[in-house]
Subunit: 362 residues, 2 copies
Amino acid sequence: MPNVYAVIMAGGVGTRFWPRSREKTPKQLLEIVDKGTMIQNTVKRISDLIEPKNILIVTSKVQKSSISKQLPSVPDENIITEPLGRNTAPCIGLAGLFVRRMDPEAVMVVLPSDHIMHDEEEFRRVLRLAIWVAYESGRLITVGIQPTRPETGYGYIQVVDEDNSTNPYFARGVFKVKTFAEKPNLTVAQQFLVSGDFLWNSGMFIWRVDAIMREIKNHLPEMNAELIKIDSAIGSEKYDSIVETTYRTIRGISIDYGVMEKAKEVYVIKGNFGWSDVGSWDEVYRISGKDEDGNSVTGQTLLQNTKNTLVHAGDKFIATIGVQDLIVIATDDAVLVCKQGQSQDVKEVVDYLRRKQKVDFL
Amino acid sequence: MPNVYAVIMAGGVGTRFWPRSREKTPKQLLEIVDKGTMIQNTVKRISDLIEPKNILIVTSKVQKSSISKQLPSVPDENIITEPLGRNTAPCIGLAGLFVRRMDPEAVMVVLPSDHIMHDEEEFRRVLRLAIWVAYESGRLITVGIQPTRPETGYGYIQVVDEDNSTNPYFARGVFKVKTFAEKPNLTVAQQFLVSGDFLWNSGMFIWRVDAIMREIKNHLPEMNAELIKIDSAIGSEKYDSIVETTYRTIRGISIDYGVMEKAKEVYVIKGNFGWSDVGSWDEVYRISGKDEDGNSVTGQTLLQNTKNTLVHAGDKFIATIGVQDLIVIATDDAVLVCKQGQSQDVKEVVDYLRRKQKVDFL
């Protein structure tokens, strides 16, 4: 068996969960759906597969101490900080430097810190399969989710119609990727859904570290040059300033766009484990347990003549009367009242607060 | 000119303005519509007519110190407390004892502490007229409001179709009362509205103190007997315990039902000064200034794609997205989200909090 390292990407600033998510406490640091914060659950979910000393967290400086507190089992030196967010490719490349130093043939499991899986056993089965195929084949592997609706908020992965003769892993449920597709419009998303060979891009990746670092070198040579500079500074006192300088010039690009779409022979494994990226308050309502009136509540509340409403009371008492299809979220200093289906506009509230420099509420 | 005393009734517990109104800070002690609390504005509104030393406030013990702070111009000894609320008749009788001691021929202007008048100049003109007629005629006078909708929440006053020959004050806009009507159902309220000779009972009364005390004696003899006991204890150290005992047995009854409906030859003056009893959050929205989207907001807010909504943010930041016809009220520890037209159910929230003994939120 290979050495396996997890790289948990926890740099998100989480504007979509305002007023709960704030600059210092983005979504991954919050209890949104289950007990435990999202990053705690991400670590716990893989703890049977990957021990805490093999888990790296990539995050921002401002989140480091909170993450350290939330994850006492993960060594502090495993929490890698980026001076600013530059999308997923630099994040993965930076973590890859550290993994490669420990074992160039190690398998690296890249996971977002703020997703949930309903069937965690099945999730781990998929990861085990992916780790084995990644190690044996040396290919890049991603996890695709069978779409259940014409979602326009995700990228898609088209799989090749194939058989065992061209793909030795086909019988195990491992498919070759035909194309990666950007977020579609609704018409295209509906076609994707009907076609049956498009999967949601879950943002989870499994590969040998030597494979991904080689692909970064091939497809993102400028970034690779910057990563070499960082690599040579690891362990020295220049490290922080080199990372700082590097990140100021490095190109912000996603691993999907920068590498996966260009790499040859990428595999995708279908994940059928009740995945959600928990991307909005609407999605939280969708995946939450509800009472007979369709309401989902946490905290002290009284819902009178209220239907299909999500209420998070925090430490307040919230009363609703005669409303339906709402999202009501209270925190210590702010309240959101949003019609269901419109929670994507929460980020406009955050934009407004930034513009007006209402820093207390950010 | 007679001596004029105002008696401001401020005993209301104000459950209808939860979460702003609480046991210790009912509606009259809050800034609900205008700058200044409702009781401060009630005093200010009559300050050209009645000086603060002639203003008596009747309230509960729990509110006394707040009222004293809010009304520094009113002498502390003018704040009379009732051990418990027994509706308006005992409240008026108790205050009448104090006014009578100062001047038995004084005119007593009885005002709720939590109403508003848009046209305060016209309000004072009506009061001046009422004071003059009350003093000269010795009759009980009430102020009736021309209905603008078939309101089922108010009592009504029917005026007599008459002329100068039977009513010397008719030409001045003073009418004889034919009947007092209880709160009607909607059908009856619509008939009242169409008939044109029904007015809303505003709960404002003007009379000579000797007149009202005589009418109480005539129509509420048991209450009068209790008031005599209190009267004899005024100024003595037994006063508090006598009032306590008296109020435990005294009958809770409104001055309308107990006296006005039974008294002969009551006058009503039409008040056309933009009156509101500010009886609910719905009423607050109705009388508030609104922006072009029909929204009325106080505090720090961002209303996105929001219409016809009342928002009170307190010291919170409130964002609304994609909603309409709502009432959103935030306080330090509680939030109300209510469909417009249903704010009468706020009292059920308070009932719930009482039942569950959630005293922090009461």
